[in-house]
């Protein structure tokens, strides 16, 4: 005959088992999909050893999940894509052309600019500060952007390329004998181009080769940079993954970055003077 204490302990264990059995049922999906913590995995595995109902449920969930993975998705027809393109273009343009508040924009942009460059800036700080030096500093900060050339980028290799491109606008191109120069062929070419000059430079702290090319009536610079420099910035990497190149448009210049097999090329030229990527010969 069983001791009453043993029966009580047995009942308590049964209650605990039932409670655990009910709780763990909600974790079974996570066990299949490897989304559980180590501790939860141990609990589930210990329970599965003694519970056929949960083992069967696990097997059924796994079968369902695998079967659903094989169901193909519906796709839009090409005419639906075209209609969507048209509808979106119209809607986006309508959205962009909505009337703005010019006065408010004018007032907010310098403040926005200050906030951007001085994150801790606030109006109270400005009002509490005194003296002409503060006023002068703010004037410079607010109006300085209007005097730059408009060629900017936060990516060091692009910054360097743009800086040199800007500087070279007021200088003579280096003279070199293209026939004997081993750098006589630019890495990228397209129709109606001719190499004018090539020289060594420094981009993002690493050596690079510049090629000045005549393309129709424009002079375009190609900077061949090391692979490690080219892929250093995450924005550039992401753009290359998504569409094969990285393009930015400044006020006066366009920049196109294209990867080659063991290097990368940054192409800089006046606005709308660069070739389309699909017309470039590697």
């Amino acid at each position: 005959m069983n001791n009453p204490t043993d029966i009580k302990t047995e009942n308590m264990n049964t209650d605990k088992w039932i409670e655990l059995h009910e709780t763990l049922q909600d974790l079974l999906a996570g066990y299949i999909d490897a989304e559980l913590e180590d501790e939860q995995i141990m609990l589930v595995e210990a329970h599965l050893i003694g519970c056929e109902a949960c083992r069967n449920d696990l097997a059924r969930q796994q079968a369902l999940s695998q079967r659903f993975e094989s169901i193909p998705s519906s796709r839009m027809t090409s005419s639906s894509h075209q209609m969507l393109d048209k509808a979106l273009d119209e809607a986006l343009l309508k959205n962009e052309c909505a009337p703005k508040k010019p006065l408010l924009n004018w007032l907010s942009s310098p403040l926005h600019f200050i906030k951007k460059i001085t994150p801790k800036f606030n109006l109270a700080t400005m009002l509490s500060a005194s003296g002409w030096s503060v006023a002068l500093l703010l004037t410079i900060i607010i109006f300085a952007p209007q005097f730059n050339s408009g060629n900017t980028s936060s990516i060091p290799m692009i910054q360097d390329a743009l800086k040199e491109y800007d500087e070279m606008q007021g200088k003579a191109l280096p003279v070199n004998n293209m026939n004997n120069n081993k750098k006589s062929k630019p890495p990228l070419s397209w129709s109606n181009t001719q190499l004018l000059s090539s020289w060594e430079t420094n981009i993002a702290g690493s050596p690079a080769q510049v090629y000045a090319i005549r393309s129709g009536h424009n002079i375009i610079f190609q900077y061949q940079v090391e692979e490690s420099v080219f892929f250093r910035n995450p924005v550039v990497r992401q753009a290359i993954v998504e569409k094969g190149n990285y393009i930015i448009h400044n006020k006066k210049t366009d920049v196109l970055a294209i990867p080659l097999s063991k290097s990368g090329v940054i192409v800089v030229g006046a606005t709308n003077s660069l070739p389309k990527p699909e017309n470039i010969i590697f």
Binding site: Q25, A29, A59, A63, S73, S74, L84
Partner: protein, 197 residues
């Protein structure tokens, strides 16, 4: 960034996901037109919020979250109600009493089911389970992504998925056993007819 640059960038990052968005939309409606309208509305809302998109968010999850809101808004207009969710445990009798409820026969039965029938079964699930099963098992998203899209904790994703799959299994087992009963009766009737002749 100029308007044209922004527009181009927007289209570059959203274009690859259009078909998948449409696929998800089509699972939640019977008409192509409604699915296309939902996708269009999703992209328009995405455009409005485009400036707020940060680098850490996966584009597809972001778009799916918007699509989910678009569909919810549309259905609210239709006054479609959420069904009362049944609770089915692993000890439910339907998961034991039918021959095809054991793991092996269940898997065989699933392989024989038409895709349309399976899609219909998912569509019949109560809303809270349907969304989770669809996003995880058909779209292949992680629990974190499903949690982000539906604004529910990861633990809730897990419990809804466990329960949703269980409800589905039970429904499929029941419908299959009803079918096999009918075909057995039909066979018996044919045999009886042949005997009379």
């Amino acid at each position: 960034m100029t308007f044209l640059d922004k527009q181009k960038r927007f289209q570059q990052i959203t274009y690859p996901w259009r078909d998948r968005l449409y696929g998800v939309a089509m699972r939640q409606t019977t008409t192509r037109q409604t699915a296309e309208d939902w996708v269009q509305e999703t992209l328009l809302r995405a455009w409005k919020d485009f400036n707020q998109l940060s680098n850490g968010i996966a584009i597809y999850s972001w778009l799916l979250k918007i699509l989910d809101h678009v569909i919810a808004d549309d259905r609210r207009k239709e006054k479609r109600r959420y069904q009362l969710a049944p609770v089915i445990t692993v000890d439910d009798k339907d998961l034991f009493s039918h021959p095809c409820s054991a793991p092996g026969p269940f898997e065989n039965m699933l392989q024989q089911q038409e895709n349309d029938h399976l899609n219909q079964s998912i569509d019949n699930l109560p809303e809270e389970f349907r969304q989770v099963v669809m996003l995880r098992d058909i779209e292949g998203l992680s629990y974190n992504e499903v949690s982000y899209i539906l604004d529910i904790p990861k633990g809730t994703v897990m419990s809804r998925l466990s329960r949703g799959r269980r409800i589905l299994a039970s429904a499929l087992i029941k419908s299959n056993s009803q079918l096999s009963c009918k075909s057995k009766e039909k066979n018996k009737a044919i045999i009886a007819e042949q005997g009379n002749e």
